[in-house]
């Protein structure tokens, strides 16, 4: 059978085209830019959501695609935040863009080294070890007072103007918002390119059946460590953005609370689908933000109920629910 015949098969066409831009993919970016102009007074929560999306994307790469179950992803977030924060606070380096690169390198190296050790394990052991690793870092931040500011963190993180021109505005974070949106876009392109590549396909293979991947001769652990390193670097950038935009760093960047929240976000949005990070972060953060306003005492109850519903009725998160709805309407199957 010739090549032309093969390319006419719908399955081949779907697969060959799946990395192409779909019509709705510009939507999140249009919404993000629209938000900037429509809600100038809410840019604070806006920047926080953007940082969280980038963090969640990095988690989606390891959890959603490679199937690495981690409860310690804030280790990378905190490393990036502290790397940028300590350099700036101690007057060593405060240029923001190169600061992001430094954060990525620091977090990436930690991902590589810890990955080589941790990724020998799976499942519950891995979950515990990633958690321990993060808590050790948190404790290190607590103890290294001279450098990290200890329990109180670093109260000031001075940052130079972006590209030497655009200074951060402490009152209205408009520069921060655009800056973070641009970095998020770059981070998204990186993750998107990886997941649609043959490397990304092999990560899904590892997620779906690790033993079979060994049997087809794939260097499973090497792939996982590479993936973990890249994801760590991206999470480090997210942490660095957090430190830069908030102009302080504290131990909350390393906290279990943060690691658990990002996990919830990716489950809520739908893991292994790229846009789950967007939907999950917006849904979770907007909801907690406004529920806290309406019911200051019991807002977490609302989130709890939502999570129970997702866990019981929509295992693939909000996007998964949406997919099966579309599939039902069209009366046919839709891929993940």
């Amino acid at each position: 059978m010739s090549a032309t015949d093969i390319s006419m098969s719908p399955a081949v066409r779907d697969f060959a085209h799946r990395h192409r831009l779909r019509w709705w993919e510009p939507l999140p970016w249009i919404v993000a830019i629209g938000f900037f102009f429509l809600f100038p007074r809410h840019l604070g929560i806006g920047t926080e959501i953007l940082v969280t999306i980038l963090f969640a994307l990095s988690l989606d790469l390891v959890l959603g695609y490679a199937g690495i179950v981690t409860l310690g992803h804030a280790a990378f977030f905190g490393l990036g935040a502290y790397a940028v924060g300590m350099l700036a606070h101690h007057g060593i380096w405060s240029e923001p863009l190169s600061g992001l690169v430094i954060a990525a390198v620091v977090a990436g190296i930690f991902g590589l080294v810890s990955g080589l050790i941790l990724l020998r394990t799976t499942g519950l052991t891995l979950l515990m070890l990633t958690l321990c690793m993060m808590l050790l870092l948190e404790e290190a931040a607590n103890l290294g007072q001279t450098w990290t500011g200890g329990y109180d963190g670093l109260p000031t993180v001075p940052i130079d103007p972006i590209l030497g021109r655009f200074a951060f505005n402490p009152l209205i974070p408009d520069v921060q918002y655009i800056y973070i949106l641009c970095v998020l876009f770059v981070g998204f392109i990186v993750v998107r390119t990886i997941v649609y590549s043959p490397f990304g396909e092999s990560l899904t293979g590892i997620r779906e059946n690790t033993l079979r991947m060994h049997a087809v001769g794939a260097p499973v652990r090497k792939r996982l460590v590479i993936c973990y390193t890249i994801s760590g670097a991206i999470a480090g950038v997210a942490g660095a953005l957090w430190a830069q935009s908030n102009a302080y760093v504290n131990m909350s960047t390393f906290s279990l609370d943060r690691a658990a929240t990002v996990l919830i976000i990716i489950v809520l949005g739908g893991y292994g689908r790229l846009y789950g990070a967007f939907i999950g972060a917006v849904a979770y953060m907007a909801l907690s933000h406004y529920l806290a306003k309406i019911y200051p005492t019991a807002w977490q109850l609302g989130l709890g109920i939502l999570l129970v519903c997702i866990a019981m009725f929509a295992r693939n998160g909000i996007l998964g629910m949406f997919d099966s709805l579309v599939a039902r309407l069209r009366g046919k199957r839709v891929g993940p």
């Binding site: 093969i6 649609y196 590549s197 087809v216 199957r333």
Partner: protein
């Protein structure tokens, strides 16, 4: 005997006091069609694990093309041309049939580590995968997920993944296991169409399949080779009949 492609020399494996394989001498020639039979617990799957490097033998050697590969790891043996299927499906269940075959082909063609070019633009990988699916008559299922396929077709994907590695040696561990008899002919057809140059070793309980397929049969009992020969010799061997074929409810008419 032709030059052997895969050879086991005095291979033994013990788990504590349990002897799973003892003193196995076995040769698989290029293009061979060889069956390994034996009662349950005879050590057939253990033997496959020893050949593929999942297990390391306690004693003896495994050779590929005359080269000692006893110490070579599983992944490297795959690269050198040993592929296997599993008795119980080990598929990428959430992925499409095409993706299931894309993954091993990408490994084999060295495309898998690439991060920058989209998977869908590796035409060479897709074409090789589709050619394989066509050979196994799975091309119309290429877009379906594994969970949407009947079990017999899932078993074919199991074979397709192994073939995607372009093996020199293919080890089939009970390819028809669990397949309803109405569907089992598609497995038979597929096995009959395997590329001639591949040396195939099949473990199978279905004697119809074994006698139709095999040019040589090795009988394994209690981790030891009990008998070896052509299907005719094996079927006529009274000891084998007593130990093994006598237990099978079907297949005795081949003798």
């Amino acid at each position: 005997m032709t030059a052997s492609l895969l050879e086991a020399r005095n291979v033994g494996k013990t788990f504590g006091a349990l002897i799973a394989a003892a003193d196995i001498n076995f040769r698989l020639g290029k293009g061979a069609r060889h069956a390994l039979i034996g009662p349950n617990g005879a050590g057939k799957t253990t033997f496959i694990n020893l050949l593929t490097g999942v297990l390391t033998p306690t004693s003896g050697q495994v050779l590929l093309n005359g080269e000692d590969i006893t110490a070579v790891a599983q992944a490297e043996r795959v690269k050198r041309g040993i592929a296997r299927t599993f008795q119980i499906n080990r598929l990428f269940r959430g992925l499409s049939v095409l993706e299931n075959v894309y993954i091993p082909v990408a490994e084999q063609l060295g495309a898998a580590p690439s991060m920058f070019k989209p998977a869908g633009m590796r035409k060479d990988v897709i074409e090789a995968a589709m050619a394989l699916l066509e050979m196994l008559k799975l091309q119309d299922d290429a877009g379906h997920r594994i969970s949407e396929l009947p079990y017999g077709r899932q078993r074919l994907v199991e074979i397709a993944i192994a073939l995607g590695l372009a093996p020199k040696v293919l080890l089939l561990d009970e390819p028809a296991a669990g397949v309803p008899s109405a569907e089992s002919h598609i497995i038979l057809d597929a096995i009959a169409r395997l590329p001639k140059e591949i040396g195939v070793l099949i473990i199978e309980h279905d004697m119809d399949l074994v006698f139709r397929f095999a040019e040589r049969i090795t009988v394994l009992v209690g981790g030891r080779i009990f008998a070896e020969g052509t299907p005719k010799e094996i079927a006529a061997n009274p000891d084998v009949r007593a130990v093994y074929l006598g237990q099978a409810t079907h297949g005795s008419h081949h003798g």
